[in-house]
């Protein structure tokens, strides 16, 4: 499964995995901004823009084919848009749209593949995201797979009872069943949330959810942030001047 694969990458012993998430996010944002502001992509510009990605892959011990394959997930959305541009008489724009989408997705994958989600969230919080929101994402992520499995089981149970093979008359029953199934999942989710709250209380929770980590930017982290931002911004300036 996609998320499990990326999660496994984030636990590899690469240099990039050890770095402070804030540094990685800052470099990622710089790269995304640079790619997004490129109006047209000449072949040398394209090559130049893949260099930071390649560096990320090496430093994070990430698989090239894996990252490239998963970056292609953007194609179902970007594809029709590019096609429309082509049909509208602007093939170059269409192609550069596709390439920009692909490069951006690959960059996000590099950072996600080098940072486990809990750390990534703390990085976001460190960069200014509201802590209430970050806490909600934390719990969402924790129970995402638990609930998805529950939904899968319910779906399998429904399928084994003949759902999905209906005529028009049965379709209404299918709708009601779907609504009912979702409501049951909703109620179970609510019950689970209540149980989690009880578990928190039982271990002494009063009003604030505590956190263990105190992140500190070490020397290699500052190097990453500085080098990443300067090199990528410099690259962008050079490309801008050259065009």
């Amino acid at each position: 499964m996609h998320h499990l694969v990326v999660d496994e990458w984030s636990r590899r012993p690469g240099w990039l995995q050890q770095r402070d998430p804030r540094a990685k996010l800052v470099v990622l944002l710089t790269y995304l901004v640079c790619v997004s502001t490129m109006r047209e992509l000449t072949p040398p510009a394209l090559v130049a823009l893949t260099v930071p990605l390649a560096a990320g892959l090496v430093l994070g011990k990430l698989p090239v084919s894996g990252v490239a394959a998963r970056a292609m997930l953007v194609l179902p959305f970007a594809g029709p848009v590019a096609l429309a541009a082509w049909l509208g008489g602007q093939p170059a724009q269409g192609l550069s749209l596709l390439v920009r989408a692909f490069l951006s997705a690959a960059a996000v994958l590099v950072v996600a593949g080098a940072t486990p989600m809990p750390l990534l969230l703390r990085g976001l919080e460190g960069l200014g995201a509201p802590s209430f929101l970050v806490l909600v994402v934390q719990f969402l992520h924790r129970y995402l797979f638990v609930l998805s499995e529950q939904a899968q089981h319910m779906r399998l149970a429904a399928l084994s009872r003949g759902a999905g093979h209906g005529r028009a008359r049965r379709r209404r029953a299918l709708w009601r069943a779907a609504g009912g199934a979702l409501a049951v999942l909703f109620a179970r989710s609510h019950a689970r949330a209540a149980a989690i709250h009880r578990a928190m209380l039982a271990r002494g929770y009063r009003s604030a959810i505590p956190s263990l980590a105190h992140m500190k930017m070490g020397v290699p982290d500052w190097w990453l942030a500085a080098a990443g931002v300067i090199l990528i911004a410099g690259l962008r300036t050079v490309l801008a001047l050259g065009s």
């Binding site: 998320h3 990326v6 944002l29 995304l32 901004v33 790619v35 997004s36 502001t37 998963r70 970056a71 997930l73 953007v74 959305f77 970007a78 848009v81 429309a84 749209l97 390439v99 920009r100 989408a101 951006s104 997705a105 996000v108 996600a112 989600m117 509201p130 209430f132 929101l133 909600v136 994402v137 934390q138 719990f139 969402l140 992520h141 129970y143 995402l144 638990v146 609930l147 998805s148 529950q150 939904a151 899968q152 709708w175 009601r176 779907a178 609504g179 009912g180 979702l182 409501a183 049951v184 999942l185 909703f186 109620a187 989710s189 949330a193 989690i196 709250h197 009003s207 604030a208 959810i209």
Partner: protein, 301 residues
């Protein structure tokens, strides 16, 4: 509907990032006031529920399938401010973990789906009185939330300079309409079933303040306005404008500064475009809020 990176122009993604950050920040603060931190697990689990619910696909015909988006369902069960936080959390996870939607485009996606779409979809519920109206409100709300999110997304792409030929625009509109209908009907089905499985899960609209009505109305106006501006073949709007006459001048007033998309003192730089984008959004939003306030006042008077 999740816009990936690389398609939007700087003006748009900076403007929407700023608008989203402000909206979500406000919603988070309000949600924290309404429910303290002990409710965070509930919000997280509800987000996971929506995620899981989105895995269930419903065939729509023509070979496409849709799924529950969930913003209206979340809004009527948790309240609009917490719902905005939960939808934002969902979009964050989708962008970072599943590469569904870009990171720079997150500003736009959050604005379209978690803020504007959610508030516009909540509006009918907030206005609905009796029980039968509530059922209709859920279907209409679900439909509106998808149309508003989709319309904003297409408008943002068009304003970013992406060529959107009429065929693509109309098929997108058609798909949104189908998905919107699915959303409305599913939301109603779930809320109906909840009345049996977990009564009390759905909050009554009595607690919805006038602010929410104003914001919801603003979102609707914003979406319509942006789509109108961005659309290249506004036959309907053109004929309307011709008939009324005044609309012509109004359109010119609004269209000219935005269409050229620059500010006098910062002509060609990308941050000039960004500032223009943001100010355009703010103007439209203010107009929307003012209109909705007037409407809400008239209704309660």
């Amino acid at each position: 509907m999740h816009i990936p990176d690389g398609l939007l122009s700087p003006g748009i993604w900076v403007g929407t990032w700023a608008a989203s950050a402000a909206a979500v920040g406000l919603a988070a603060r309000r949600a924290q006031r309404e429910l303290d931190e002990s409710r965070v697990p509930l919000l997280g689990v509800m987000g996971a529920f929506v995620f899981a619910a989105q895995m269930v696909n419903f065939p729509l015909g023509f070979g496409s399938s849709g799924h529950l988006v969930g913003s209206v369902l979340l809004a009527v069960t948790l309240g609009p401010a917490p719902a905005i936080v939960v939808m934002t959390a969902i979009l964050l996870v989708q962008a970072l973990v599943f590469q569904d939607g870009g990171v720079l485009a997150l500003g736009a996606n959050v604005f379209n789906m978690a803020v504007a779409g959610l508030l516009a979809g909540y509006l009918p519920w907030a206005l609905a009185g009796g029980a039968r109206l509530r059922s209709i409100a859920l279907v209409v709300g679900g439909f509106v939330s998808v149309m508003v999110s989709g319309g904003l997304a297409v408008a943002e792409l068009a304003l970013s300079g992406v060529a959107i030929p009429p065929l693509l625009a109309w098929s997108a509109a058609g798909l949104f309409a189908l998905n919107g209908l699915l959303e409305g009907l599913l939301t109603l089905a779930v809320v109906r079933a909840l009345a049996v499985v977990q009564p009390g899960a759905v909050r009554t609209a009595a607690t919805a303040g006038r602010t929410m009505v104003a914001l919801g109305g603003a979102a609707l106006v914003l979406a319509t306005g942006l789509v109108a501006i961005a659309s290249e073949a506004p036959d309907v709007f053109d004929s309307l404008a011709e008939r009324t006459g005044i609309a012509d001048r109004a359109r010119a007033l609004i269209l000219t500064p935005l269409a050229e998309y620059r500010l006098a003192w910062a002509p060609d730089s990308w941050w000039g475009q960004a500032a223009a984008g943001l100010s355009g959004l703010i103007v439209m939003y203010a107009v929307g809020v003012a209109l909705a306030r007037i409407f809400a006042k008239r209704r309660s008077a």
